[in-house]
């Protein structure tokens, strides 16, 4: 539970600090670029998630995956 407590604390601090971070709506031109999307190549990341899931003992963390396989 220590990890969760730390995370909650971190999130609270982040959110408190966030009020001074960020941009105005008219300053989003760069952030709106397709190559600035958090996952700008979903095909690549989907394939990669599947490869690494089947070859390593770790998976997930980024988003919900596309389902399991019998490989692990």
């Amino acid at each position: 539970m220590n990890v969760i407590t730390s995370l909650l604390l971190l999130s609270t601090l982040t959110m408190a600090g966030c009020s001074s971070l960020g941009v105005k709506p008219w300053e989003r031109d760069i952030l709106a670029r397709e190559d600035m999307a958090l996952d700008n190549a979903p095909m690549d990341s989907g394939f990669d998630d599947h490869i690494y899931f089947s070859k390593e003992a770790s998976s997930g963390g980024k988003s919900f995956g596309g389902g399991g396989c019998g490989c692990n």
Binding site: V3, I4, L7, L10, S11, T14, M15, C18, S19, L21, G22, V23, K24, P25, W26, E27, R28, D29, I30, L31, A32, R33, E34, D35, M36, A37, L38, D39, N40, A41, P42, M43, D44, G46, F47, H50, I51, Y52, K55, E56, A57, S58, S59, G60, G61, K62, S63, F64, G66, G67, G68, C69, G70, N72
Partner: protein
């Protein structure tokens, strides 16, 4: 050459749409309402002397007038080649019974024992639907079904996203549930039982077994400045049911390391056994930054579980936008994991006689490092966005079954 709106978005309408939708729109790609966006890709994954995979995929996405987004993705996966069966290398020839119990295969002295009849095909269908609730929040629903001849998986997920701080912060919480059905070739072998020569009967449990997994994922995405985005996630998953790999065995060796002939084979091998539950946690952080026309994308994940596996993953992409119509994107990934507490490369006859509960010799649960190095090139051709990526993936660990070299080649086209 035509300018490429999908690479460099100079379209004012897109900018305004994205400005209005950000950050909720940060995970989606700007596109024109009413059009189906189609992505077609083919992946070739080829390991030296082991598994090869050929995977075509198609994804369709449409944004509706109410800003809802519907997406489908279908993947076909054809696998052939050889896979490590779990047994240790030996200076003697080894013979193994095939998973079906019909037939056998041999491994030469000094070679990694590989089952060379590995062949499977897999189909996977995913559906995603994004539904705005108000101006500052939305839901994303997902569903997935995948099937191969010995494995079926179904999953569903729901994620809630809320924008705050003038849309500079997005908070998300998601849950997912997965159900897997495992029907191995030949049935499920009794855990820890000894492999028999193919003319003997192998003791088996049921024909099939199941596993379920529940997962929750909390996320914060923050705009730092006009050029920088940060994402932080925490994930927790709990799975229960059959986690064992029914095709994997563990070598039981004499105290001098030699093979111990038994059951009609020239060595003793027991079927592995894993715990029937696993809880995993992960912390994930990602930074995206625009640097003078280029884009850096760096992420780190720490994952740990109650099998004592802990891993670090660092993933970096740097996209050099050479012009509006083409880019080069090098990619470097580094992965390191510690072994599960029940991982052993092999055991002794004395250990077999003791009260073994869980054991695996699957190198994927052993100490391991892995690196991926490669690059992607994106370009416009025929009015469509194309990309080709070529990467080398290399695994290494304490023993030779962990030494895997693979080539990843992928081609994408977007209509």
């Amino acid at each position: 050459m035509k300018s490429n709106p999908s690479f460099i978005n100079k379209n004012i309408r897109h900018s305004l749409t994205a400005a209005a939708g950000c950050l909720l729109g940060a995970t989606t790609q700007a596109q024109t309402v009413d059009d189906w966006q189609t992505d077609v890709a083919v992946l070739i994954y080829n390991e030296t002397d082991r598994v090869s995979a050929f995977e075509p995929a198609i994804s369709l996405k449409k944004t509706f007038e109410d800003d809802s987004v519907l997406g489908f993705k279908f993947i076909y996966d054809a696998l052939t080649g050889a896979s490590h069966n779990g047994a240790a290398e030996s200076d003697q020839v080894q013979t193994f019974t095939r998973p079906s119990g019909k037939g056998s295969y041999e491994t030469s002295a000094g070679d990694v024992p590989l089952d060379d009849t590995f062949r499977d095909s897999r189909g996977s269908l995913s559906v995603n639907y994004e539904q705005p609730i108000g101006r500052f929040n939305k839901m994303i629903y997902g569903g997935n079904v995948s099937a191969e001849h010995d494995f079926t998986s179904m999953s569903a997920s729901a994620t809630y996203l809320q924008d705050i701080n003038q849309r500079n912060t997005t908070l998300s919480v998601g849950v997912s549930f997965e159900y897997d059905d495992i029907t191995p070739e030949g049935g499920i072998p009794v855990a820890l039982s000894e492999m028999q020569v193919n003319t003997n009967a192998q003791v088996r449990d049921e024909e099939s077994d199941t596993r379920t997994m529940s997962e929750v994922l909390f996320g914060v995405t923050q705009v730092i400045d006009r050029y920088t985005l940060v994402q932080l996630n925490y994930g927790y998953s709990q799975s229960s049911g059959y986690h064992t790999d029914p095709y994997k065995i563990v070598s039981v060796l004499n105290s001098d390391g030699s093979l111990n002939a038994a059951n009609g084979l020239n060595g003793t091998y027991i079927y592995e056994n894993r715990p029937d539950s696993r809880s995993k946690q992960s912390l994930f952080a990602k930074v995206k930054r625009y640097i003078g026309g280029d884009v850096a994308d760096i992420s780190y994940r720490y994952m740990w579980d109650d099998w004592e596996v802990a891993s670090h993953t660092i993933d970096t992409h740097y996209r050099f936008n050479m012009s509006d119509s083409w880019y080069i994107e090098p990619h470097v990934r580094y992965y390191q994991q510690s072994e599960a507490d029940f991982y052993r490369y092999s055991i002794s006859t004395a250990e077999q006689a003791s009260n073994l509960e869980y054991i695996t010799a699957d190198y994927r649960l052993g100490d391991m490092t892995a690196t991926t190095i490669g690059a992607k090139v994106g370009f416009m051709a025929g009015g469509y966005g194309n990309s080709v990526r070529l990467e080398m993936y290399q695994q290494s660990g304490d023993e030779s079954p962990s030494d895997v070299d693979a080539l990843i080649l992928q081609y994408n086209i977007r209509f």
